[in-house]
Symmetry: C2
Subunit: 156 residues, 2 copies
């Protein structure tokens, strides 16, 4: 992806898109988050992706701090790398959940599958939702958006 895509150099969405790049990158992150894949061969098998395309996507994700590269070695084999999501990488579960929610709602499929998110603590199922400070949940259609300085927005 081109640097500074679009004219608005302040846009937080464009900053995320610089990391996510293309759809393969998003699916690699899905595999890591949802299937727990860490090894090159696991990503390759799960996605049916050509090795050079996979390499070309994993390397920038390491450089950008989404994956940490670690060495592992199985007995009798040469040492290899595995790719473990960093805290920032795991935080992309918000984006993955949003993509899944829209696909499920607007492109329903009888045998469809999506990630289900549960609390590490107690296993409670959590859904992504728009919530007011008073705790009210609002449907996407009940909202309007306007451009605002990040400094005036709370931490998410």
């Amino acid at each position: 992806m081109a640097k500074m895509l679009g004219k608005d150099s302040t846009c937080s969405i464009a900053r995320t898109l610089e990391v996510l790049g293309d759809a393969w990158t998003v699916l690699i992150i899905r595999e890591a988050l949802v299937a727990g894949s860490t090894r090159f061969q696991e990503f390759r098998d799960a996605l049916g992706i050509a090795p050079n395309i996979l390499s070309n996507r994993l390397e920038p994700l390491v450089e950008k701090g989404i994956f940490e590269r670690r060495v592992y070695r199985e007995s009798g084999e040469r040492s290899r790398h595995e790719y473990v999501l960093t805290e920032e990488g795991r935080g992309l579960n918000v984006v993955i959940a949003a993509l899944a929610d829209w696909g499920r709602a607007c492109r329903p499929q009888t045998d469809g599958t999506s990630p289900c998110f549960t609390s590490v603590d107690d296993g409670a199922v959590a859904e992504l939702a728009f919530v007011t400070q008073g705790g009210e949940r609002l449907a996407p259609g009940e909202l309007v958006a306007r451009r605002t300085e990040d400094a005036r927005l709370g931490k998410s």
Copy 2:
């Protein structure tokens, strides 16, 4: 984007990525949602995008039901098209909000900007959050994901 990207033909995330295609598409939807742009020239000016690239992104978004194309005519000018988000298109505000939240949290920028979402009804600010059925908000780091059949997941 290739059809059936990845081997998992059931994935709700891949279905959404078939619509969003690439980063330009996401920025076009951002402009429509956040700036209220509807006209070709508005998108062009806001994004600094080449006309052919813009056309190549808008047409499939009309075919896929994200924008409705309408005719308008200003006095003394030829009739032109405008592109109005459908209900499904407006529902992509979940994806836009998720991208903005991650960018703001993990790629902070002093002069950064993001969409702020407010209730149509009463103007209350709403944030995207993972929420349990009991109403508890969980941080992205407090969650794990597993692949689940859509039929077993609730409507979002």
